[in-house]
């Protein structure tokens, strides 16, 4: 199955600039959705569809960094290419720390912008399946009982059934039962896969928990 064409979202409160960038991106055949208000963008973007965001840093009400924070809270992987009027170093550092794809200074050269967008779209293509998997694992983890989670953590830590039973103050038979249930819920057949999944989901990442 071929993935749908990615959407390039553009958010800038200056209508002239917004229109010009939209036009530039359309000239190279990109699918563009332009918004003059960050709120309108947040209301209407599709977090499951591929794409990237070209975002002006200085916006009235909700500025670029605020929008980035909201997207982060919504667990969106949409890569962001920031535009700024003047090279604001503090803001760019903060934006990059939070995973901005690029940071361009206005006026923007078309090649730089197009390159940044292509890179962002490529990054989106990569991060989107991983994100999907992360979400899938998270969904499965959510189905586990508390006891099964405890057992999972200990399995990931490399304990044997007997050791687990002793640690949790129960019988080895009970542990086997939990283990069977959680393997089924997580959709794996062998322990190696279970450990891989759990690590990807960050379970038992820090020893001692």
């Amino acid at each position: 199955m071929r993935a749908p064409a990615p959407t390039v979202y553009v958010v800038d409160d200056d209508p002239d600039v917004l229109k010009a960038i939209e036009r530039l991106l359309q000239s190279i055949g990109l699918n563009v959705a332009a918004f003059s208000s960050p709120h309108r963008f947040l209301e209407s973007y599709d977090r499951n569809a591929p794409g990237c965001l070209v975002l002006d840093l200085a916006l009235p009400g909700l500025n670029g960094l605020d929008v980035q924070r909201v997207l982060e809270q919504q667990a969106s992987v949409l890569p962001i290419v920031f535009l700024t009027g003047h090279g604001d170093i503090a803001a760019s550092v903060q934006a990059m720390k939070h995973g901005a794809a690029d940071f361009l200074t206005k006026p923007i050269d078309d090649t730089a912008l197009i390159a940044a967008i292509h890179e962002a779209l490529a990054r989106d293509q990569v991060s989107r399946p991983a994100q999907l998997e992360r979400e899938r694992i998270a969904k499965r983890l959510a189905m586990l009982t508390e006891r099964e989670l405890q057992v999972l953590e200990l399995i990931v830590a490399g304990r044997l059934n007997k050791q687990i039973a002793a640690e949790l103050g129960t019988t080895e038979k009970t542990i086997k039962f939990h283990r069977g249930n959680l393997m089924r819920k997580m959709g794996v057949r062998v322990v190696a896969d279970l450990v891989k999944l759990a690590q990807r989901a960050g379970v038992g990442a820090t020893p001692g928990t």
Binding site: D14, D16, A20, L24, S27, P60, N63, H86
Partner: protein, 609 residues
Amino acid sequence: MNWVETAWTMMIAASLMLGVVHLFVWYKQRSRYANLMFFVLAVSAAAYGAYELARMQAETPADLATNARWSHVPLAVVVISIVGFVRLYFNAGRLWLACTVIGVRLVALALNFLTGVNVNFLEITALDHLQLWGGAVVAGPIGIPNPWAIVPQLSNLLLVVFIIDASVTLWRRGGTVARRRAALVGGSLSLCITTAGSVAALVVTGVVHAPTVLMPGFFLVVLAMGYELVWDLASAAQLAAQLGASEHRFRAVVEAVPSAILLVNDKGLITLANAQAETVFGYQRAELVAKPVETLIPEHLRTPHAGLRSGYAGDPRARAMGADRELFARRKDGAEIPVEVALSPMPTRDGLFVLVSVVDVTERRNVERATARQRDDLAHLSRVAMLGELSGSLAHELNQPLTAILSNAQAAQRFLAQSPPRFDKLVEILADIVKSDHRAGAVIQRLRSLLKKEESQRHALDINEVVEESMRLMRSDFLSRQVLVSTDLAETLPMVSGDRNQLQQVLLNLVINGCDAMDGQAVDRRLLVRTRATVNGNVEVSVVDRGAGIPVANLERIFEPFVTTKATGLGLGLAICRSIVAAHGGRLWATNNPECGATLHCELPAKRD
């Protein structure tokens, strides 16, 4: 010659003398008809006196009768002139009574010639020789009384009534002079006429054997009237002396006044000029007098001035001339000087004179101009400093259209590179490029104008436009400071007269201050700029912030120079803003809002056409 002749001759001569004196008075002052009347009275009294003297020396009854008949002619003139004198001199007395007195007297005069030997006797039968004190012997009439003698008596009676009535009227008017006049002239006249009438009646009826002597009575009347008239002349002379002194004082005051003074008559000619006028206008006084006042007015204003002058004559009030505009005068050397002029009307018998006071304000204008220049310089300096503060924002305002232009141009290049080239897109792209270019051009224009150092110029301004333009200039600043700005602009506002750059400076300053006031706070960084028409027809711009507000003690102090609450800045901004607003005839003040923050108000007078 016995004493009677001597006395009568003297009285006649004295009456004539007094009469002639007042004829001269009348001749010099034609409006003094009372003096003319007095002359007629005195001369006719003298004439009657001459008849009376001859009558007392009559040798036959026929002589006496003829004399008595003709003596009624001057007698009638005496009566008529008394009436005239009283009317003119008292400015009182009933006209109908006056006419009746004269009418009856004329009837008596007619009867005098038509009946008997005269109006008093049908016939004079004998002479009554009367021995007087001191051995003098005079003749008196014995005869049959004329029944018509009642007519002259009636005339006398009416005359007395007329005089008393006029005297009472005069007395009631009050005033020492009028009352004395009423008592002295009115009293002596009434007394003499009553006495004379009674004597005549007694003699005619034969009750008393005596000559009908009226002359002493007339003489007393003449003396009393003469006294009054001379007193008038004396007081006129006194008045003239006072007037002279007063004019002397007037001239002394006019000379001492530090401004130029001109007295201009109703024909627009200068009649008086003081020493200061010589200094101000550079003319000698003699050169100014009798010249039209327009001589001192710049040539191009002379014709309108003549019109204004006649307009002033229609509504003469003491006032400053041309209070709403600058006035200029022309010196002898042709130089035009700025002046202030005050006018006071002086109504005189010779028409409306105007006292013109002119002050040369060249020096004051120079000082004012220098002050204004300093204020403009200071305003410019602080404007440049303020634009420095805003430079980031201003650069951004230029950057936005440049960004749009670049992206549009590059989009066009890419559309053209396609095959087939997308020419259809070019029309709107180029239109947008032009639009953005204009936008950038406008920012640069405004900046250049704000940075330029030029003398303040007044134009008709829509304050809403100034607000909107300022908001555009500061847009990026609001964004980077994360201040939400809203405007509430009145739809119909009168225009104001002002310097665009300076008023924009004031507004930018107030807005920057409002933003500064909210710098430290995490939330609610909102600023409102509002315009409205005030109740008195002016325009008010308010900048409302939601900061901490201003301590009450500082509400006025913040407008003093070098008073600042900020870590940076000289504290000149608001002081300069206030001086700019004041120079525009407006005011700038601060208030605290009910809930939070402060409002800076700027009221500007509406432009009057």
